[in-house]
Amino acid sequence: MLKKIEAIIREDKFNDVKEALREIGIVGLNVFEIRGHGRQGGVTLVGRSGSYQVDMLVKLQLNIILSEHNLEETIEAILNSASTGETGDGLIFVYPVEEAIRIRTRERGHEAVMYPGDIDERKHRGKT
């Protein structure tokens, strides 16, 4: 079973999250720059005279497709690396993925999202 992680994180935590994911062997990911707000409702900026409210903040959305057995470990890595403890740290959503197909090789399912040196290969290496 394949899953999709959609993590909305702080722009400024992106490098930490990327590093943490690389550490556990998540090789493939892509990123959207998005705008929005959650419970925090925006931030206050300083203008010419006094401050004003801005409600659309820039956030990053990470998309990762992975095998279900790697899900919790990956979520843990994101939680640890993306958190500051302040409001605005973001959210993680998980979806089931119907199918994944690698265009070059036509591989489907698990095969399509596996890379040399990725999280599964590391686990395998660990066992032998």
Binding site: V46, R48, S49, S51, Q53, D55
Partner: protein, 408 residues
């Protein structure tokens, strides 16, 4: 009496003319950074177009209405239509040592930037055609007569002894109060006060403010119309006032949260506008006070305007209008014959009458520019309409009015 050309004065004024020309592109950037990205080109165009529109109007008849042979103290005659007789020889009425054509060109740059200043009031929603018509009428009915009253030979305010060195009344109060009147007529941008309208590129605004400061040396020091001690004093007072106002504004912003870049740049421009009428009449130390006091006046004028929910979008009134209102009054306080023997003493040098004259200049300018602008804007609004449609406003004027976009 014929004047004698002085090549030093002529060279200096040629440079100043170019410096003041630079202020209009600078202003375009200053405003352009503060609008939303969908209106950048439109905002730039509202300023730039005056280099073309006023550049033609001034040669055809604008200069003559402002500086032609006086008619009753109210308006210049038509003797300089098409720059007739405005050539290489000096006109001793205005500047004895530079060609008349250079004086007229230097004045043209003021006629270019003044209506461009007003555009800050109605960016992001004005209909381009109506704006062009308004501008032509404004230059003819407001700028040209007012320039005559204050600077024209025989103009009634100048003849009474009102001091305005480089355009506190003619340029900044006129633009500021006209902006206020126009904003009241056209109404706020769609969503004003409900949705955030963030400046889309503050770097443009900061760059614009810096170039304005450079250009202002030409504006104020050039208004001495000679390369002499008064010009040097004007340059010093200009720099000192801008510096003091920038610092005070920074502190005001800091006390309210953070010392914002946009705030510091705004403070600098406010200091420049405040010292404009005083530059050639007061000492650098007086200019420091003028700038320092201008900052809180304008800072809280912006707050006042915001609290009324009035969308005078770029604060032309709060910054230019209020700064120069104070600057005109300050001229009546600090002016001294020690700085400029062709000027006058102010209250602090034993001449309370000058303060009264400065008040008169301010009140007349405010009443005249506000009322005429309000009426002209209202008539245009009721006839051809001042605003774009809601749809055009939402799409942004870059696409809807000019058919292009700033960022692809």
């Amino acid at each position: 009496m014929e004047g004698t050309l002085n090549s030093g004065d002529t060279a200096w004024l040629l440079v100043c003319c170019s410096l003041v020309l630079l202020m209009t592109p600078a202003l375009a950037l200053f405003y352009g950074g503060m609008v939303r990205r969908k209106n950048l080109l439109s905002t730039l165009t509202l300023s730039y177009i005056f280099m073309a529109l006023a550049g033609v109007q001034w040669v055809l008849y604008g200069y003559s209405l402002a500086f032609g042979t006086d008619i009753g103290g109210l308006i210049g005659g038509l003797n300089f239509l098409g720059f007739a007789g405005v050539g290489a020889l000096p006109n001793p009425d205005y500047a004895k040592t530079i060609p008349h054509g250079l004086f007229a060109a230097f004045q043209m740059m003021f006629a270019v930037i003044t209506p461009a200043l007003i555009t800050g009031a109605f960016v992001e929603r004005v209909r381009f055609k109506s704006f062009l018509l308004f501008s032509l009428i404004w230059m003819t009915l407001v700028y040209d007569p007012l320039a005559h009253w204050v600077w024209g030979k025989g103009g009634w305010l100048g003849a009474m002894g009102v001091l305005d060195f480089a355009g506190g009344t003619v340029v900044h109060i006129a633009a500021g109060y006209s902006a206020l009147a126009f904003a009241l007529v056209i109404g706020p941008r769609k969503g004003f006060g409900k949705v955030p309208m963030e400046p889309h590129n503050i770097a443009f605004t900061v760059l614009g403010a810096g170039l304005l400061w450079v250009g202002w040396f030409g504006f104020n020091a050039g208004s001495a119309l000679a390369a002499n001690g008064v010009a040097v004093n004007a340059l010093l007072t200009t720099n000192t006032s801008a510096a003091a106002a920038g610092l005070v504004w920074m502190v005001l912003g800091w006390l309210d949260g953070r010392p914002s870049t946009l705030g510091i740049a705004t403070g600098m421009v406010v200091g420049l506008a405040a010292v404009t009428p005083a530059a050639g009449f007061v000492s650098p130390l007086a200019a420091m006070l003028i700038g320092a006091v201008a900052a809180p006046i304008c800072y809280y004028a912006i707050r006042f305007r915001q609290n009324r929910n009035l969308d005078e979008s770029m604060d032309v009134w709060a910054c230019h209008g209020m700064a120069s209102t104070w600057g005109m009054i300050a001229t009546g306080l600090f002016a001294t014959l020690e700085v400029n023997s062709a000027g006058a003493n102010g209250l602090f040098y034993g001449n309370p009458k000058q303060l009264a004259l400065q008040f008169l200049g301010v009140v007349v300018t405010i009443a005249f520019t506000f009322v005429v602008t309000y009426v002209v804007a209202k008539v245009l609004d009721m006839s051809i309409g001042l605003r774009v449609t809601t749809m055009e406003e939402e799409v942004g004027l870059d696409i809807s009015a000019h058919g292009e976009r700033a960022y692809s």
